[in-house]
């Protein structure tokens, strides 16, 4: 992979709160703090993996970056332009450069549109090409994702899960974007075909110099595709490091627990390893714990953890961690 040091996307203290309304007058009584101060950079040409349990805010982060939600606060800079303050039309122009691949290929493709219409839709919406040009481009795109161009007249239900997800990839590629957010693109697929979609994403990245934000909960697959990995918990990033560094030398107790819980398909190795088992559940993001959000489940928490939220600091070059006790 050809990551250089040029920052393509800079996310600074991104906050996304969803208000909770109650009562006759629908007064706001609180907020679900889905994303609560997230900062990171994505470099041009790299893949940044974003992992965490369900409900930790990883998909919300992706959507807030693309301005599919209006962020409550913070900055999202794409090639130096702050997207949060951008007006409607310039933002629409901007969207050509950044696209999204959605989680469930069974739900995200309109069943009443043919593959040709689905893949051609972004071209029409953005009036990039018209008429026969669209058909030609659709053909090209289907070939790129290794689908037979003759399939353009078929409907999504005629395809398998892996093929549908490739239609989703073709749709995302239609406008020649630089940056693609992959929101759990393989979690709805059988394990036997996951690698097919992942390999395709990697090939396309090399061919077009694409930059990915790869959102997933499967730590094993994230390791295979990412250059750097960020671990999220309850709306904040707990740890961010180069792939090898994070997997071989996790500093945050949450990352350590997550890694130790990943199943290994090998009963011998499985019996030998030590596991950090976390009790309890993720607290509600409407009412997160004071101080460090992980402290309620943390095996090594001390009183300090309840008092102040740990700073997201760089402990080693390129290795950031939000924990008072990490050394």
């Amino acid at each position: 992979m050809t990551a250089n040091n040029e920052v393509l996307l800079h996310v600074d203290n991104l906050v996304m709160h969803f208000p909770i309304y109650r009562g006759v007058f629908q007064r706001q009584v609180g907020a679900v703090r889905a994303v609560d101060g997230v900062s990171f950079d994505v470099k041009r040409g790299e893949t940044l993996g974003l992992v965490g349990e369900s409900g930790c805010g990883k998909s919300t982060t992706g959507r807030a970056i693309l301005q599919l939600y209006k962020p409550t606060a913070g900055k999202v800079e794409y090639e130096g332009t702050n997207l949060v303050t951008l007006k409607r039309e310039p933002m629409r122009q901007m969207r050509r450069k950044m696209q999204m691949i959605f989680q469930d290929p069974y739900a995200s493709l309109n069943p009443r549109m043919t593959v040709g219409q689905l893949v051609g839709e972004p071209l029409m919406v953005h009036s990039v090409t018209t008429g026969e040009e669209i058909d030609k481009r659709v053909e090209q795109l289907l070939e790129l994702v290794k689908l037979n161009p003759a399939f353009a007249t078929r409907y999504p239900h005629e395809f398998s899960g892996g093929q549908r997800q490739r239609i989703g990839v073709a749709r995302a590629l239609a406008l020649n974007p630089n940056f693609i957010i992959c929101d759990e693109p393989i979690s709805a697929l059988d394990v036997s075909i996951q690698a097919q979609v992942v390999n395709l994403l990697e090939e396309l990245q090399q061919q077009f110099g694409l930059t990915y934000l790869f959102i997933a909960h499967d730590l094993s697959m994230v390791r295979h595709i990412s250059d750097r990995v960020a671990v999220m918990y309850l709306g904040v990033i707990m740890e961010l490091a180069e792939r090898e560094e994070l997997y071989n030398n996790p500093l945050h107790p949450y990352t350590q627990a997550l890694l130790s819980a990943v199943p290994i398909p090998d009963p011998v190795a499985d019996a030998q390893r030590k596991r950090v088992i976390l009790e309890g559940d993720v607290p509600s993001p409407a009412n997160p714990p004071s101080g460090c959000r992980f402290r309620t489940r943390c095996p090594i928490a001390v009183p300090l953890c309840a008092e102040s939220q740990p700073e997201f600091r760089e402990l080693r070059p390129g290795h950031f961690v939000a924990c008072h006790l990490a050394k």
């Binding site: 390999n199 094993s220 398909p265 009963p267 993720v282």
Partner: protein
Amino acid sequence: MTHNSKLLNIEDLVLHFKTLQGPVQAVDGVNFSLDSNRAVVILGESGCGKSSLARAILRLLPRNAGTYSGHIYLNGNDIMTLPEDDFRQTIRWAAISMVPQAAMNSLNPVIRVGDQVAEPAIVHLGVSKADAISLVKKMFQHVGVPEDFINRYPFELSGGMRQRVAIAMALVTSPMLIILDEPTSALDVLTQANIFNVLKRLKKELGISFILITHDIATSSELADDVAVMYAGQIVEVGDTYRFFDHPLHPYSQKLMASVPRLHSDKEPEFIVGRPPSLINLPQGCRFADRCPARFEKCVQNPPVFEQDGRQVKCWLYA
């Protein structure tokens, strides 16, 4: 192998569904057996008939069920021949219970979880409500749900807790065998690990047997003693867990294992080209032949099951 020495012995089980296009051969001649206090995992891609196999064992048949035949011996008695009333009273939930797929969403949202878990005990064991509730408390302890959750509604519980409640419901009648259909697929890794610890403890403490149905190969190795791989309605390989995960025999099992991403390995995961055949229109010979890298002339004929060091594999390579 006699029927009597095993807890469960399934012979030539067939379950077809009627559709306008023709019969869907979801379970097509399945054989396997299970000793008591053992766990077998049934592995396979989606649509290979795993869940239908579970339904066939428990005789939970949908309206469009067609052919339903074969033998299921439970402690030596063929339960296939039992009339429906006897089956319901003595087998389903009394001897064999099930945790259905997406169990966390299969709880009734308007009934307190304690009452839901108590219901099978009241129906099958004939105990009073009060006795059933105290039984529920005991089950909650086994699966790690706090006792005071008895009066809560399902929406007040997290996914992992609801899954535990569903396991408690399968456990409450003290069955010999529990069928778990994708028990952890909708859960996060940390919750998954917790649920599997619960299952392992239940197996050790209560001596229950499990049939674990899953497509998640990595998690299955934790609980299972034996592995059965299912493909297109048939079981293509049966073996013990240690040897299976070390070197699977059937080319399909090998490709399936190679597609699992590993946490600490630089080997890139592979994928299996093509897709499983339609269960309506199955090929004459080996059902995996179209996608098999080791295919040769013989594969146009349907392979029998070959024995290989105590493991069974349905592939001509082992003739």
